[in-house]
């Protein structure tokens, strides 16, 4: 694979910055990180693979990262990197989108794969996961968002040398005023690491009944995940647990879908599972076409029986 010259990276989290720096090293000759944070954090970016750090300064609590879009935009226009990679947090998407609009291009979002063939070619899911689309930007600078797991961070190398360039802050023209920040209880689940996952869908009639799926999960040593409507809609489980094109994409050994119809947006999150098992009362549910084993039946009858059998078998 040929290489491009200049790659820039922007991330909110250090772990993401490390992955993007590693990606930058694979794709380009020079990697520059745009860092808003402490002096130590600029040094960290260099040990993680950056050659240059554009230092926006220390983060001030009354500011938001988005306030720096104008500053970064001017820098981008001056330096014209070939590629800018951004971590797709909500903030990252906003920043990338605003930069792209001003640079006259679109962000190539959620890259699953990036390849250099003269231009930067980016592959990502479209149509709810029914297809992978490969696209390229016709502008000088390509802007992409790259999620966790596409690149693996390099081991930190404290002997690496780099350049830290301080950048002057430009006052934004459309500033939004921060009134308050509330912390959001965030669930710490790492579905991605689970070897076995039980997924619950709208076939579950009440929030309380999720217990039945949890009990089955416990019996087989699985994590509980869900379809999107269970997390965003009825809000019975945290967002972090929903599986699919806009949620978690998994590769477990066993996926057991309970009361899930099997729409493409959901299935794309599990279709790399080694084994898929489905419990659904509708024989025509699409999930059965994608299952290794299935049972056409009422989950309220099937699950208790299964749980009993696993218990008896211990």
């Amino acid at each position: 694979m040929s290489k491009i010259k200049k790659v820039w990276v922007i991330a909110e989290k250090e772990s993401a910055l490390a992955q993007l720096c590693a990606g930058g090293r694979q794709l380009g000759e020079e990697v520059a990180a745009v860092v808003l944070g402490t002096k130590e954090e600029t040094g960290k970016a260099i040990t993680m693979g950056a050659d240059t750090v554009y230092w926006l300064g220390e983060f001030k609590p009354e500011n938001r990262m988005e306030d720096y879009v104008k500053t970064v935009l001017e820098l981008l226009k001056q330096e014209r990197p070939d590629l800018l990679m951004v971590q797709p947090t909500k903030r990252g998407k906003l920043i990338a989108g605003r930069l792209a609009a001003s640079m006259g291009t679109s962000v190539l979002v959620d890259a699953a794969k990036i390849k250099i063939d003269e231009k930067v070619q980016v592959t990502h899911l479209v149509y709810g996961g029914a297809a992978f689309r490969t696209e390229q930007s016709l502008t000088e600078t390509t802007i992409v968002t790259v999620g966790a797991g596409v690149y693996t961070a390099l081991p930190e190398d404290t002997s690496r040398q780099g350049n830290v360039i301080s950048v002057d802050y430009l006052e934004p023209s459309n500033k939004v005023k921060l009134l308050e920040k509330k912390t959001k209880p965030s669930a710490t689940v790492n579905l991605g690491a689970a070897k076995r996952v039980v997924g619950v869908g709208r076939g579950i009639a009440n929030q309380e009944d999720i217990k039945i799926a949890e009990e089955l999960a416990e019996q087989i040593g699985a994590e509980v995940g869900c379809s999107r409507p269970i997390a965003e809609g009825v809000n019975w489980l945290p967002t972090e647990r929903y599986i699919g094109v806009s949620g978690a994409i998994l590769k477990p050994e066993v996926y057991l879908a309970v009361g899930i119809s099997g729409q493409v947006q959901h299935l794309v999150g599990v279709n790399q599972a080694k084994v898929i098992i489905a419990v659904n009362k509708d024989k025509a549910a699409p999930i059965f076409k994608h299952a290794d084993y299935g049972i056409v039946g009422d989950l309220y009858k099937v699950l208790p029986l299964l749980i009993e059998k696993f218990k008896a078998n211990k």
Binding site: G97, A131, F132, T139, V254
Partner: protein, 256 residues
């Protein structure tokens, strides 16, 4: 408040056919209103119901937009008026081209206080069009907004991020992209559907907006269905003890 809610029509993914060479065929697909765009329409309705004003709907795309069922569909959700920008080139547009066309439509409509977009379109889900539009209109723009409270010439909004919720004050005019759990879109009644047929629909082409020259800055190289994993498809019917036993034995085998 003068609100414009943006929606996109998309092919029903259940009708997408994967061809032998893994290309997709949309030929037989029914088109529908993007599910998450309905939240943007509903937010607009709730705001004008609270503080007065008007909601218009706006969409850009190709000829599919002219489908009268879809036009009625969006108007039955409440907007007073519908604006469409139709051009073949807008059928496979990226976020930048879409936002450019939306901006041209909005400039032609004249004034606005608030433009609303959904969390993501049903087909591309790039979550970018609202952001690009805000930037092109040179007004404040936010994504992930989960609550909006009008406050005179400003809005107070909550923005739900990964680990925190920001409460922000935004000057109008602004472009806001909302989350899917900001509301439950209303189901149109028979009366709403009948009334929708009588509302004004204005359709422009890119040349009516003086933007026939706009170009798409990205290029599609390929669109291919992922390779399917072969599945055993051993399906049992019924939920009696004996049938569940068979499923259990198979699961046991796989868990070993």
């Amino acid at each position: 408040m003068n609100v414009i809610s943006c929606y996109k029509i998309v092919p029903d993914e259940q009708d997408i056919v994967v061809l032998q060479d893994r290309n997709l065929s949309l030929e037989r697909a029914e088109w529908k209103i993007g599910q998450y765009d309905l939240n943007a329409v509903e937010v607009g309705m709730q705001i004008v119901e609270a503080v007065g004003g008007k909601v218009s709907a706006l969409s850009v795309g190709d000829k599919q937009l002219e489908n009268s069922k879809l036009k009625k569909g969006i108007l039955s959700r409440g907007p007073e008026e519908l604006f469409l920008v139709v051009d073949e080139r807008l059928g496979n547009a990226d976020a930048y081209l879409t936002a450019k066309a939306l901006k041209a439509g909005i400039d032609k409509i004249g004034s606005f206080d608030l433009v609303l977009c959904g969390e993501g379109s049903g087909d591309l889900y790039s979550q970018q069009v609202g952001i690009q539009l805000g930037e092109l209109l040179n007004v404040p723009t936010l994504n992930a907004v989960s609550k909006i409270t009008p406050a005179g010439d400003k809005l107070v909004v909550e923005r739900t991020l990964e680990n925190e919720i920001e409460v922000l004050e935004v000057m109008l005019p602004a472009v806001i992209s909302v989350t899917t759990d900001i509301n439950q879109p209303r189901i149109p009644s028979m009366k709403n559907i009948l009334a929708a047929g009588k509302k004004t629909v204005t359709q422009w082409g890119l040349s009516d907006l003086g933007t026939e020259g706009i170009q798409k800055p990205t290029e599609i190289l390929s669109t291919l269905a992922p390779e399917q994993v072969d599945r055993k498809q051993i399906i049992f019917e019924g939920d009696s003890e004996e049938v569940v036993q068979k499923l259990f034995e198979n699961i046991q085998k796989e868990l070993l």
